[in-house]
Structure formats: C-alpha cells, structure tokens
C-alpha cells in the first residue's frame, strides 16, 4: 500500500504536463477570445454570422469529441499534430470561445456615450476600441476571466485521454498499479483544487 505522501508525489509527476497544457491552452484561448469577441462586437450581417459560427463551433462542441477528432482524424488527412498541441488547442479554443462572449458582453455593456465622446474628440474607431472601450470592458470582465482560467486548468485533465502523462494520467496509472482508487482519486481531486 502506498502512503498518501507517495500518492501525492506520484500525481505531482504529472504536474508539469498539466501546467504546460494550461500555459499553451492560454496561448490559444487569450488571442481567440480577444479577436473573436471584438470581431463579434464590430461586425454586422453576414460577417457577424461567420464570426458567431466559428465561436459556436469551439464553444458548443464537446471537448472530448473535438480532442479525438483532431488527434485521431487529422493524421488521416496528413496533418500530424502532437498530443500536447491538440490538447492545448482544443481546450484553449473551447475556453476561448466562452471568454470571447465575456469580451463581447463587456464591450456591449458600455454606455454608448463612451464611444460617442471618443469619436467627438476625433479618435478613430480603432483608437476608441483600444483606448476607451477595451480597458473598461476587460477590467469589468476580470472576475469572469479568472473563472474561465479555472475552467481551463480543470479542463486539461482530458488530455490524459490522448497519451499525455498529466496529473490525471498519473493517477490512473497509480490506481491500476495500486488498486487504491479512493485514496488516489481523492488526492487527484485535491491536487486540482490546490492548483
């Protein structure tokens, strides 16, 4: 029987993978959220429909299905991506899809007088966006971004399904070796909570 200390040590061997997937996931999530949230705010008609369609694809699809499709199906078309890349991309863009809605909501919640005052002062639309609207919208939305970061960390557990030895994968290995799933998965739960 492993001691709790040994279980923790075993699980934490997967910590760096969890951390890496989270970090790479952010590299997908943050630009996607900003770009598409802003685009949805600024566009109308057909362009807006296209932007919304892309957001909804990533936001509304099941992450586990996206993961399998991109990991197992893309190589069929000659596109080989590493498990790390696929995992970070799928989780990052999924969370980025949610975050894009926070960006858009933050922009749309601003009083119209803010952009009017900016344009009355001679600022261009882009200057109004970057100097007046975004600073206010992102500050107002900061708590929901923290929420989404937490979702991202938790979401990374899914990469254990495509061979990455993250904390969840390590816990499964340990559970199979040690036949002590209760202690091991409880420790895993606490590990994510601590992270």
């Amino acid at each position: 029987m492993m001691s709790i200390f040994q279980i923790w040590l075993g699980i934490l061997q997967g910590l760096h993978v969890t951390a890496l997937v989270t970090l790479y996931g952010l590299l997908f999530a943050v630009p996607f959220a900003l770009l598409f949230g802003i685009a949805q705010h600024l566009t109308t008609g057909l362009a807006r429909f296209a932007v919304t369609a892309v957001i909804e694809f990533w936001r509304s699809s099941s992450v586990i299905i996206l993961l399998f499709v991109f990991y197992y199906a893309l190589p069929v078309f000659g596109i080989e991506l590493s498990a790390m890349t696929v995992g970070a991309m799928v989780i990052g863009l999924n969370i980025g899809g949610y975050a894009s809605q926070s960006v858009r909501a933050g922009l749309q919640a601003l009083d119209k007088g803010q952009s009017e005052a900016g344009s009355a002062l001679g600022l261009t639309r882009a200057q109004v966006l970057f100097m007046i609207e975004l600073p206010q919208a992102l500050t107002a939305m900061a708590p929901t971004f923290i929420n989404q970061l937490i979702q991202l960390v938790k979401g990374t557990a899914i990469v254990s399904l495509v061979t990455l030895t993250d904390m969840t994968f390590r816990a499964k290995e340990l559970a199979q070796i040690e036949y002590d799933p209760v202690a091991i998965y409880t420790s895993l739960l606490l590990a994510y909570f601590v992270v």
Binding site: G113, S119, L123, P135
Partner: protein, 249 residues
C-alpha cells in the same frame, strides 16, 4: 477669425433625418454666425438633440446639407473629420472616461490625434482646467468628482482641441440643482470670450442672459427663432406660448 468671417460658422439647409419611419428632423434651416450664441429649446422629442448631434457628425442624416465654415459635413460623418474637428461636444451625461484621470481625459486626443508631446498636451489641458476652475482635481478620477465638476471637466476636455464651435446637449439636465450654476457660469464665461455656441437647454434664465438668439423646435421643425427679449415678451407662435407657460409656471 477674420479669414472665416465671410461664411457663417454653421449653415444648415433643408436637413431631413429619419429614425426608421419616424421623421425626426423636417426641412430644418439654421444659420449660426461666427461668435453668436444660440439656445435651442423645445419639448422632448422635438429633434433638438438630433440636430446638434448631426452637426457634430454623431448622427447621420438623409438629405440636406450642413456646412461648417464652408467645409461640408458629409452625410456619412465618418468621412468628415476636417469638418468635425471644428466642433467640440458636451453631453448631458458628461461621458468622461472613467478609467482615465481628469488630466488624461483632457490629453488623450491631444496626444493620440494631434500627436502632441506629453508635456505640451498637459500644458494645454491644465490651461483649460484652470479656465473651468478645477485644476486641483487634475489627477483624480471622474468618479471622485461631483456631477458639476465632471461636466466642467468635460467642457475643458472639449476646449483642449481648440474647436471653433461648442455644442452643448442639455449640459445641466443630469445635474443636481445646486450644481447647475457652476456649469452655467463656465458657459457664460465662454460666451464672453466670443466662442460660437449652440446650446440645447431648458435653462431659460441662461438663455435670456447669454443667448443672442433662441430657437424653438417642435415635432422636428423650427417653429420660431428670435432674440431673447422678443422671444420671452412676445412669442408669435401658439406652440411657443404653450411651451413657455409650462416652463415658467
């Protein structure tokens, strides 16, 4: 000023604007001479705010022309930056930028549009903050100021860009009564300096003291316009009389 004296500061001819099917401005003609001070009044929904928002390019219009000292304002106002630069706008709800200090509110456009250095922009901003008697608040954020102080900052912010015409859209309507005077005092001193001003306001005392012409609008049209003495003493139109008696009693 001399080189502009031939053309009026604002020349609006046959202006029409619709919101959907609602005809908000109906064939409006209005000429504002350089240095003159116009007060526009009228019941809510009469189109007075829409009119000055068109002059500032914040609203599109469907037909007619607006010329600012011989520079036409295109119907798609986004293309009319040269004309728009001549006007400064003060809003009912101040519309200061809450994430910037008072000073940064004033210097934003000086630095980003006019590309002035930080030092030069601050110098201009402090000059106008002194003019509105609020220089000591320069490093505070708008939320730390009273409504009257915020509106004075908004006036200073507009003045920083050296506009030839100042437009006021109900500048005191959102203020507590005890703060109205400090804003009107600033506007009065601007008028004494010779600024061309168009004010949408219900402050009839201000209109009587400061305006050289009062324009009364109702249902999208200019019903009558005259100097304050005749406007208050002998309004010619029944709708003007009804409006004034509601306002004064």
């Amino acid at each position: 000023m001399q080189e502009h004296s031939l053309a009026p500061a604002i020349d609006i001819a046959a202006l029409n604007k619709w919101y959907g099917t609602f005809h908000v401005l109906k064939n409006v003609d209005l000429v504002v001479g350089t240095g003159s001070r116009i007060v526009i009044c009228g019941p809510s929904g009469s189109g007075k705010s829409s009119l000055i928002r068109c002059v500032n390019g914040l609203e599109k219009y469907e037909s007619g022309t607006i010329r600012l000292a011989d520079t036409p304002l295109e119907m798609d106002a986004a293309k009319s930056s040269a004309a728009r630069r001549q006007t400064g706008m003060v809003f009912q709800s101040f519309n200061l930028f809450p994430h910037l200090t008072v000073l940064a509110n004033c210097t934003l456009s000086l630095r980003r549009v006019q590309k002035k250095s930080r030092g030069a922009a601050s110098e201009i901003a402090m000059h106008f903050l002194e003019k509105v008697k609020i220089p000591e608040q320069a490093n505070k954020y708008p939320a730390e100021l009273s409504g009257g102080q915020q509106q004075r900052v908004a006036i200073a912010r507009a003045l920083c860009l050296n506009p030839r015409i100042m437009l006021f859209d109900e500048p005191t309507s959102a203020l507590d009564p005890e703060m109205v005077k400090e804003v009107l005092d600033v506007m009065t001193s601007l008028a004494r300096d010779g600024m061309t001003m168009v004010c949408v306001t219900h402050e009839m005392h201000f209109a009587r003291e400061v305006a050289d012409r009062i324009v009364f609008m109702d249902q999208g049209s200019i019903v009558e316009q005259s100097d304050p003495a005749s406007f208050f003493a002998a309004p010619t139109h029944a709708r003007t009389r009804a409006f004034l008696s509601n306002l004064l009693h």
